[in-house]
Every structure is written in C-alpha cells, then in structure tokens.
C-alpha cells in the first residue's frame, strides 16, 4: 500500500516540476517589460526602472531567476502583489478558503444530485431513464456561466427579495454565508452532476449484471438490502473517484461563478489580477490550482488502488 503511494508521488514529481516551469514561464513570456508592469507606470527614468529590475532579480540569467522563485516558494514567499505590494500568499489564502468552500459545496451537491438521478435511471429504467438522460444531455450543452447568469436573471425577475449578491464571510454569519453560497454552488454543481449521474448509472448497470448480485437475490435478501450492500457499495467507488477527478472542472468553473455572484474567492482574484496585470498573483494562483488538482488526482488514484486490490485480486 505505501508502495503504491510512493510510486504515485514519484510520478507526480516530474509533472510538478513541469508545472512550476510553465507557471514561471507564463509570466515571463509577456510582451512588454516585467519591471514596468511591476512599477505600474511607464513614467519612469531608466535608472528607476533598473533599480526595480535588480530588485526583482531580473538582471540574473533566467534559470537563476527560476531557482530563486522556486526557493522563495519553498519558504512561502510567492512574491508581492504589484497592486497592493503585500505578500501574495497572505492575500491568496483567505480567498482560497472561500473558493474551497464553494467548490466543496458544489461537489457535495453534484454528488447528491448525480448519484440520485443515476441510481433512479439505472434501477427504474423506462421513462425515468429517458427523462434523466435527456435532461443530462441538454444540461451538458449549457455552460455553467450561462446557467449562473440565467439563475440571476430569474431571481431578479421573479424573486427580487432573494438578494443574490450578498456574500457574507463565514465567521461573520455562518448561516448567512451558507445561504449566500447555495445558488452559486448549485450553478457550479449542475454540469458536474451530469458526469456523476452518467457514471453512477453505468456503474450500477454494470454491477447489477455481476454474478454476486444474482447470488444475493438467490439468497432471498430484500431488494433494499441488495441495493445498499451489493449494488451501491460496489458502484460507488468508481463514482467517487470520478467525482474527485472533476475537481479540475470545478476549480475552473469557480472563476466564472465567483465573478457572476461577486464572491471574493480565488477565481475572482485571478480575474481581477488579469485585469490589473498583477503578474505575481496570476502566477501564484495558476500554480496553486495546478498543484491542488495534482494532489487530489493522486489521492483519488491511491484511494482507488486500495479498493481495487479487493476487487482485482479475484
């Protein structure tokens, strides 16, 4: 078991390395002058510009800059924001927490919705199956930001008292916070729930045709018990892993949702930084997002390998 973990982690290292290089290179590949962007103004004497350049280490060869940057990362120094001049990490963490909350809520909703519809689709078949699959198919065609915008439109037209854009921080008002996150999380969850639904349906259908389910029926076990202990428990493992792999999609989608619902998360921070050309922040966010996705993928792989051992030894 630990061997599997180590193997997966080892596999991750070169990719992590590559990811860091890409994140670094992205921001150095800019048209125009990095130092100038740091200064935020073009109205500078060449000497002033030079000082900035040296301060940022831009006079050193590119690989040295990369190593410096990497070293800084290790000690938690993600650079300073060009806009606020404060350390990026400090600005990023609270926003990351908000995005994490949104993402987790969306993931949970997507799972509930997806598993429920997938299960219904697989067990009830017939019209239910057609309806669910048709609806899923249609839903796939509606991007999450379109869904979110339509939700805001509907709310504005028919439920004006709902107050959509009233995000409150968690520690100020936990219930209010959760309430304000409900619709955004839902908008984010819909697209992901389709994938989960399809996967659940397929997994349940596959498991239903297995011999051990037939044996369970031959034992005279009640349908409810068979569903719980034989069908769902076996079908859920692939479903959970698929959900984990949806994280990337959720993170990407959170940018759009946060922008639409004015939620101060990492996504909105990214967007703001792009607008204000705050390159250290962009760099940090891209890196953090990629690392999180990688870590979750590895976790999911490991979890699956562990369960798979039981299934594949046979």
């Amino acid at each position: 078991m630990t061997r599997i973990v180590l193997v997966r982690l080892a596999w991750m290292l070169p990719i992590l390395f590559g990811v860091s290089v890409v994140a670094f290179a992205l921001m150095r590949a800019l048209p125009g002058d990095f130092a100038q962007a740091a200064a935020g103004t073009t109205d500078l004497s060449p000497e002033a510009l030079d000082t900035i350049r040296r301060g940022l280490g831009l006079d050193k060869p590119i690989w040295a800059q990369y190593l410096l940057w990497l070293g800084g990362l290790a000690s938690g120094d993600f650079g300073s924001s060009f806009v606020t001049h404060k350390p990026v990490l400090g600005e990023l963490l609270p926003r990351l927490a908000v995005t994490a909350e949104l993402t987790l809520m969306a993931g949970a909703m997507a799972m509930v919705l997806g598993v429920f519809t997938g299960l219904a689709s697989a067990r009830l078949r017939g019209r239910t199956d057609w309806f669910v699959r048709g609806f899923n198919g249609l839903l796939l065609a509606v991007p999450n930001f379109v869904v979110a915008t339509l939700i805001v439109l509907l709310a504005g037209l028919y439920f004006p008292e709902l107050g959509i854009f009233n995000y409150t921080p968690f520690f100020t008002d936990p219930l209010g916070n959760l309430g304000s996150m409900l619709l955004p999380a839902f908008a984010l969850a819909l697209a992901v729930s389709v994938t989960i639904s399809e996967n659940t349906r397929a997994a349940v259908l596959e498991v239903s045709s297995q011999d051990f389910v037939m044996v369970a029926r031959a034992k005279g076990l009640r349908p409810g018990a068979i569903l719980r202990n034989y069908l769902v428990r076996n079908a859920l493992t692939p479903v959970i892993t698929v959900t984990g792999l949806q994280l990337a999609s959720l993170l990407g989608g959170s940018i759009l949702i946060e922008t639409i619902f004015t939620i101060p998360g990492m996504g909105q921070y990214l967007f703001d930084s792009i607008t204000s050309r705050d390159y250290p922040v962009i760099q940090a966010i891209v890196l953090v997002a990629a690392v999180i996705v990688l870590l979750v993928n590895v976790l999911v792989d490991v979890a699956y390998a562990r369960v798979d051992a039981r299934v594949s030894y046979g």
């Binding site: 990811v19 992205l26 198919g137 991007p143």
Partner: protein, 281 residues
C-alpha cells in the same frame, strides 16, 4: 465540461443511429450557413448603435436591442462568426498536433513516448480553463492568441485518443505478420493504424468542439476574448447582466446561441459514436 461516456454500451438500434447524426449535421449546416452569410442576412449593422435601447422584441428588432441600441439578432449572427472561426481553427490545430504526437508516441514508443506523454501530462495537470486564462493573460487577448491557447490546451486529449488505438494495433498479429514479411512501417501505419484512429478522433473532435465553444465564450464572458468592437456571444452575455431585468432577451439571446452551438457538437458526437460504435476510453 463535456466528457466521453464512461462505459461502452450496446449499439443503439439502427434507426436511432442515423437520427442523431442527421440531426447534428442539420444543426451544424444551419449554423454554418447563418454565420457564413451573416453580413448579408443580418438585418442591421452589428455595431451600429441607436437611441432605441433595451427594446423588447418587435417587428423591427426580432430580439430587441441592447443597452446602447444595437440589434441583438444581428449581433448574435455576426458574433457567431468570430466564435466559430476561432473554434474550428483551434480545434483543427489541436487535432493535427494530437495526431502527430499521438502517432509518434504510440508507434515509436520507448523514450519518445515517455517524454511526449510526460510533457502532455504537464499541460493536462492544469485545469483547462485556468490554463487558457493564464496563457491569454500572458500573451494578450487577440484572435490568433486565443486560437493558439485553445489548440495547446486541447492537444493532450487528442494525442491520447490517437495513441490508444495505435498502441493496440501495433501488437496485432497480422500487423506483426506484415512486418515480418517486410512491409514497410509507413505502409503499415497508413493501412492498419490510421483507420483505427479515425473513429475515436472524429468523436473526440466533436466533443472538443463543444468544449471549445464553452472555453471561447467563457473567456469572452470574462472580457479576455476577441477584442471589441466585434460582438461575441460571451461578451454579449456579460454586458447584458447590467440591465437584464429590463431586457431579458439580451441575456436569453446569447445564452440560446451558446447552447445551440454546444448542443450541435454534442449531438454530432453522440451521433458519430452511435454510428461508429465507438466504446469510450
């Protein structure tokens, strides 16, 4: 995000196979015709403003006007051109690159395979949308940059889809037999390998087209898509947010256009899948 179906299912009954594909083709042709002849069929100039702002649907303006009096329908038609152009070109590039990389990687194997796959994994590790945003932010939101970004972002999946059948075909008995008799590698590649690759690539291309519509419109929604004054669907949706309760069509119009385009490619993908009986990866 649109993904391939998880488990290979029994082939759909004959009639349904062709129905979906036919529907997809009809939708695609409609879209292409409308956007191709856009400048001639659009009732108004897409960027012409007028004092008649936020109007509801009427005989003059079928879908009303936006906040500065521009005709929504015309903007939708013209906006489609840029969106679809970027989409098709970018995906074509991704397919081409994916084909080359996948074929080389799968066929040559060994170190080349490892290196190529690792490199692609790195791109794969980034959430698609995040990467697209970052690259466009770095390079600047021009149409060529958008095309390039999207091509880069979707190349890995194409390469993977190509590589899989190549790997399995390589080991087929009659391919080994052909090789042992002295048939050249290139000929083997063309005669045996390429046909196996066509089906999955066609399906994946449709799926990627659908995903690209999402990415392009999402980027333009955030304001880093094709620059103004050309209209684009994502941008229209975003601008409409300010006054949307007053003129819901400014939201519903672009929303419907985006959904229609995405749906077209999804239907095509499913139609192709049913027709070609492709299990998914």
């Amino acid at each position: 995000m649109v993904e391939a179906r998880p488990v290979a299912e029994a082939p759909a009954p004959r009639k349904r196979r062709h129905l979906l594909l036919a529907l997809g083709v009809v939708m695609l042709v409609t879209m292409l015709l409308v956007t191709a002849f856009g400048p001639w069929i659009a009732p108004y100039d897409a960027i012409a403003t007028s004092p008649n702002s936020l109007a509801g649907p009427s005989a003059e303006h079928w879908l009303g006007t936006d906040s500065i009096g521009r005709d929504v329908l015309s903007r939708l038609i013209i906006g489609g051109r840029t969106t679809l152009l970027i989409t098709f070109v970018a995906v074509s590039l991704a397919v081409a690159a994916g084909l080359v990389l996948g074929l080389v990687s799968g066929y040559v194997g060994g170190l080349a395979d490892e290196l190529i796959m690792r490199a692609l994994d790195i791109v794969f590790a980034f959430p698609v949308f995040l990467l697209a945003i970052a690259v466009v932010a770095a390079l600047g939101p021009t149409v060529p940059n958008l095309i390039l970004t999207i091509a880069i972002v979707y190349t890995p999946i194409m390469a993977r889809v190509v590589r899989a059948p190549v790997l399995s075909v390589k080991r087929w008995d009659h391919v080994e037999a052909a090789r042992s008799v002295g048939v050249g590698e290139l000929r083997i590649a063309i005669v045996h390998v390429l046909p196996m690759v066509v089906s999955p690539i066609l399906v994946q291309t449709s799926l990627t087209l659908a995903n690209t519509i999402f990415t392009v419109t999402a980027l333009s929604f955030l304001g880093i898509g094709p620059p103004p004054p050309d209209p684009n669907w994502g941008g229209m949706l975003s601008e409409a947010r300010q006054f949307m309760e007053l003129a819901p069509l400014t939201v519903i119009g672009p929303a419907a256009a985006i959904v229609f385009a995405t749906l077209t490619f999804i239907v095509l993908a499913n139609g192709l899948r049913d027709l070609l009986d492709v299990g998914s990866h």
